[in-house]
Structures are given as C-alpha cells and as structure tokens.
C-alpha cells in the first residue's frame, strides 16, 4: 500500500495530464491492444456507436472491426464466446453495457469461466476481462443502476476490480487484461464524468494492492469505486472537526488487500465499511467478518457499515439520492465511532 501508488510494475512518469475517467479507460484498452495482438474488444454498440458511455469511442477506427467487434444483444452468447476464445489464448475484453445485464451471462461466468482451471487443470486458463458500467445516480431506474459485485465474490476463480480514480482505472484495467484469470471490472457510471490528473505514459497497477487515500489516527474508512471518493470527502469534513480519518480504497475485492485494512485498523481501532450496493450479504458483510477474524484484538468499537438499504434502486431522483450512501452518511458514521 502507498499513498499515491500508481507505479506498480510499470514506470509512471513524473508528468501528469488531465483526463476523463472514460479517456483513461480508453487509453488502457488502446495501449494493451497495441502491445498484444491477442487483445480484442467485444460488446453491444461499442464499435460504430462508440460505446454506450463513450469509453471505446474511436477504437474501431484505430483497430478495425476484427478487433473492435459489435455484437448482437446476446450477453450469454457473447460472454461465452469470449470464454471460448480465451481458452485458446486470446485476451478478449467484453463490455456488458450495464452491469445489470450481467445476470444474463451468469451461467457462462459462474459455470464456465470460473471453473475451467479447477475442473480441467492448468492446461485451461481464461484470460478474460468483463467491463461492467455499474452503479446508480443517473436516474436509470431499477434495472440499469445496480452494483452487483458482491455476487462475484462468492464464485471462487474470479477476480473483482473496482477503481475509484482515473489513474487507477487505467492502471488496473491494464493489469486486468494481462491477468490469466477472468476479471470482473466495475466502472462506476458516475465516475465516468470525473476529470483528473493522471501520470503521463504507460503504467500498470497490480491487482490486490489497496491505496491509502489519506492518513488519520482516529478512525479507518474502507471503501472502493465511487464510495472511495465519497469517503475521501467524508475525511475532509471530519478533518475540519478535528477527527483524523484514514481512508483505504480497496481497488480490488478479489484479490483483497486485507493486510492494508488490518494495518490501518490496528492503528485506529475503529472502522467504517462502505459500499454502494445493498446491505444484506454485501461486500461489507464479508469485510466485517474478515476483520472480526483478523483484527478482533485491535477493535475498540463495533464495526460500522454504510451501505444502500435492501431495496431496488427507485427512479425518482429524490428517492434515488436517498438510497446511495453519501459523504455526509459516512462522516456521520465515522463521527459517532470516533466519539464512542
């Protein structure tokens, strides 16, 4: 873990540029396609249309229709096709237009991609990335706003990655493409619009290494994806009140950098876990249990979590906003803990 760790295996430049999250992802795709001819893209409306959220805009012109393949609306078929191609040494990157649609491909992910290596031995490997625009906040309603990563933690054989910053989006996506395992890659739709400074040139960020967003001695806040940004804002609110919050951005849920979380909790003795998804059986439920197992002696107060309630995402923007955890919610939970 490090404060601004974008070094990883690749050498990050000292010079920075300002990019949208979407552009950072596009750079990762383009660089990996340049680097390795086995990398190709598949998905609905990602070529001619440029991707529902514009992530792949321009890549068709750059790499041609063989490598930027528009597909029919056939999530199970397309993910299955990608798994088949991956077994034969290709490195497909599939875009599932909304993470909600990944439900249609669960058979291929859970029964095939995740199982090959175990059932068929080391001869079978599935270097596959499934990119999933996820999350609420854009009034897309109950079927286009979900955050479903918790399901995939429950399937051994998969990796789950969820960047919070543009730099991480680029570096983690590049690592995911180079990984020999199937990777579910979450892209929070609200983050797509954020414009940030990222290092020039090529760099990768290893999967399984958390990022310490800010240091603090009173309370630890653990989050990932969009919620890591909310946690960072919460830390600023708390700082003004004289409460030192240490924010850990997990970056990936599998592999999980539990050591980074335990180290921070050992220092602060208090922890708030945050996720955008629903509460029961969620990522925080797993994280909380891991901390119970591995950091019990260090905990000075009960573990707290801030999550969406166990309800579908409603359409009306006022209702939707009430579902998604905010910096204020996180700050309130951390404040109560720090004062306990």
């Amino acid at each position: 873990m490090s404060n601004q760790d974008v070094s990883g295996s690749g050498g990050a430049s000292d010079r920075f540029r300002e990019l949208y999250f979407t552009e950072a992802l596009r750079e990762a795709l383009a660089e990996e396609m340049e680097r390795d001819p086995e990398v190709f893209l598949l998905g609905e409306d990602m070529g001619v249309y440029g991707g529902c959220f514009g992530v792949t805009r321009g890549l068709l012109e750059q790499f041609g229709p063989e490598r930027v393949r528009d597909t029919p609306i056939s999530e199970a078929g397309v993910v299955g096709l990608a798994v088949g191609a991956a077994i034969l040494g290709a490195r497909p990157v599939v875009e599932v237009m909304f993470m909600d649609f990944i439900t249609l491909a669960m058979d291929q992910i859970a029964n095939h991609a995740a199982k090959f290596r175990y059932m068929y031995g080391e001869q079978a490997r599935v270097p596959l990335v499934i990119r999933c625009p996820a999350g609420a906040g854009r009034a897309y309603g109950a079927t286009h706003s979900q955050t479903l990563e918790a399901w995939f933690l429950h399937v051994p054989g998969l990796k789950v990655v969820a960047p919070a910053t543009a730099a991480d989006a680029k570096g983690l996506l590049k690592s995911a493409i180079r990984d020999d395992n199937p990777v579910i890659f979450l892209e929070n739709k609200v983050l797509y619009q954020s414009r940030e400074w990222i290092p020039d040139g090529e760099f990768t960020i290893p999967l399984g290494r958390a990022r310490r967003v800010c240091e603090g001695g009173d309370v630890t806040i653990v989050a990932y994806s969009r919620m890591a940004r909310e946690a960072e804002k919460a830390a600023s609110i708390l700082a003004e009140e004289g409460i030192g919050a240490e924010v850990i951005d997990l970056r990936s849920l599998v592999p999980l950098d539990i050591d980074a979380v335990v180290a921070s909790v050992t220092k602060t003795g208090r922890v708030v876990l945050v996720e955008e998804g629903t509460r029961t059986g969620g990522v925080c439920a797993e994280l909380g249990m891991r901390l119970f197992e591995e950091a019990w002696d260090s905990l000075d107060a009960p573990i707290q979590r801030v999550t969406a309630p166990d309800i579908p995402i409603p359409f009306a923007p006022e209702l939707e906003a009430a579902v998604i955890p905010t910096a204020a919610d996180i700050a309130a939970a951390a404040r109560a803990l720090a004062e306990s």
Binding site: L81, G84, A85, I87, A90, G121, P156, D179
Partner: protein, 331 residues
C-alpha cells in the same frame, strides 16, 4: 471404403461399448459415484463425426461424453480413472464423468450445463479465425439443448460472422425423460437452423457411414471459410438417461426394437462381412482387444489413488491468492 478405416471404426465403437458396459458395472458396485450417462447405442455418431476432423481441430460436447473422448483418441485409462475420481484421471479427479477433457487432443470438455458450451464453441472458432488458422470446431449437443437461449445466440453469431463451427445435434428422441415432441415446437431439430440461414445436413446416427458423409460436407464448408453447418444425427440411446434412470417414460419394446433393428456396431459388422473386408475371426479379435483395453483401464483406475487433499486448493487461480482461500487453515 478403405478397409483399415472401417476396422478402426469397428474397434472404436466396440471399445466405447465395452468401456460403457464396464463403467455401468463399476457404478453398480458403487465404485463410480455421482452421475453416469452412458453412450451405448450412439457410438456411430462420435465415431463417424470425429473421423472427419483433423487432429488440430477442436471438439466440445455435452455431458454424455465418454464415447466422444474415446473416439477422439483419449487413452481409456485416465478416462476411467476420472470416472472413479482418481488423481490419474484426465481432469485429475476434479472433473468427473460429465467434465472430461483432453486439451492435448483439443477436446475442450464435456459440459453439464445444457447448451452452455455452444457459445464457447463459437468463441473457439472466433479465435481460430482471428489467429488466421483454417481449423474448425465441432460442437456436439443433444435435442434438449436446442430449446435454450444460448443455442440461438450461438447459432446467430456463428452464422452472422460465418465462423468455422459444426453444430452437431445428437437427437436421441429424449431430453432426459421428456420426448422431443413434448418439449420442442418443431419435430426436426434441423428446422431451427433455418432461422439463421444456416445450411443443414440430416443423417442416420445409427449408421456410421451416414454420419461420416454428412459431417464431411459440414467440415469442408467450415474449412473453406463458408461458415457453420447444422448437422442433425437421429440416434437412440439403448440405456437410460443416466444410471439413476428407471426409464418410466418409454416402453421396453421401443428400446428392444431399436436394439434389434439399429445396433450401429452390428450394422457395421454386417457391412464388413458382406463386403468381405474381414473375416468374423478378425472382428472377434478386435472385440477381444477392446475388452482387454477396457479391463486394463478399469484396473488402472481402481489401483490409482484419490487426489490428495492439497489438490483442493490447486488450480483455482493462475497464481494462488492469499485472500479468499486463506480460510483453508480454519476449515
């Protein structure tokens, strides 16, 4: 046709038959657990179809896969060991009867989720063309798979992109215990390929020559870059869906009638003798060889150890993770 080829087919079909009979016996003795789906009666389909593939072509099948592995040339010993869940099995004892594989022979598995492997076959074909080869993919499934969504997604994409896939449907008249006419709106499975403008071949799956002929056309088309073909082999399984099947859904007379009229091995024997390509003694010699290979496989399997407990945590990820499997110390 070439005598050597026909004798090879006879041996292969006989090997499948004896291997399956032996595995049924081991199942009855409780030495094979779980599911066991026998291929008895359908031997001509795998034998005829695989005779049209090159060694570097690819194969994916449904869970009734023992016969396909044998016809592909997989050693019966590790096959039988897999059925018994032994470490010497083709999948190191972690796959089982329904999940056989032999990557060295480009046999990418038996699949137990009905129809789920059809998109995988399309993906392998996609990769073959992407990588600039002329290799083709044979995707084998039953009549039941034609009713599932992934079947239609796979056929559409393969036809749309003219990929080198052969979709071979083994129509054995029953999806587990449900007759085709009780599950499918159309009686001929090949009718379903027409929606995708895909050429079709129908053949007699109880006749190795008929399967071979239909498959040759399909493979030629795929190899030439002319896209996928749907081949329907009408066949019949002489045994139940699995060893656990009491066969309440079909008449004993029906099974006997098929055995009497259409045993693919007896048909091939008659052909060979009629054409005087071999003597009855020569064929009996081949049958003895098949029986010996089966016995040897059973002995090998029974004498092999089960996988060690350490294997539980092997081959989950390309490199082991610390995190998710760390709980193993605390099981």
């Amino acid at each position: 046709m070439d005598k050597t080829l026909l004798l090879k087919w006879f041996y292969q079909m006989k090997l499948i038959r004896t291997f399956e009979e032996k595995s049924a016996e081991l199942y009855a003795y409780g030495k094979i657990g779980g599911f066991l789906h026998l291929y008895i009666g359908e031997e001509a389909v795998a034998t005829g179809a695989l005779a049209t593939l090159r060694e570097d072509d690819h194969l994916l099948t449904h869970y009734r896969d023992h016969g396909w592995a044998l016809a592909r040339g997989t050693d019966p010993k590790p096959l039988m060991a897999e059925l018994l869940g032994r470490v010497t099995g083709v999948s190191k004892g972690k796959g089982g009867s329904m999940h056989l594989c032999d990557p060295e022979r480009n046999f990418w598995g038996g699949y137990a989720i009905v129809g789920g492997h059809l998109p995988l076959a399309v993906g392998i074909a996609f990769a073959m063309r992407y990588q600039g080869t002329d290799r083709v993919v044979l995707s084998v499934f039953g009549d039941g798979a034609t009713n599932i969504g992934e079947f239609h997604e796979a056929l559409n994409m393969a036809a749309l992109w003219e990929l080198p896939v052969i979709f071979l449907c083994e129509n054995n008249l029953y999806g587990m215990g449900t007759q085709v006419k009780r599950a499918s709106a159309v009686p001929e499975m090949a009718q379903k390929a027409c929606a995708y403008g895909m050429p079709t071949e129908q053949c007699n799956g109880m006749d190795v020559f008929s399967v071979y002929g239909a498959m040759q056309k399909a493979v030629q088309r795929a190899r030439a870059g002319e896209g996928p073909t749907f081949v329907e082999a009408k066949t019949y399984r002489f045994r139940g869906h699995s060893m656990a099947d009491p066969e309440l859904y079909r008449q004993h007379d029906e099974v006997e009638a098929f055995r009497e009229c259409c045993d693919p091995i007896e048909s091939l024997r008659d052909h060979i003798l009629r054409e005087k390509l071999a003597t009855p003694e020569e064929l009996e010699q081949l049958e003895r060889q098949a029986a010996a290979a089966t016995e040897e496989a059973a002995q090998f399997a029974e004498q092999s150890p089960p996988p060690p407990l350490e294997a539980l945590y092997e081959d989950i990820y390309a490199q082991p993770l610390d995190g998710p499997t760390a709980g193993k110390e605390r099981r």
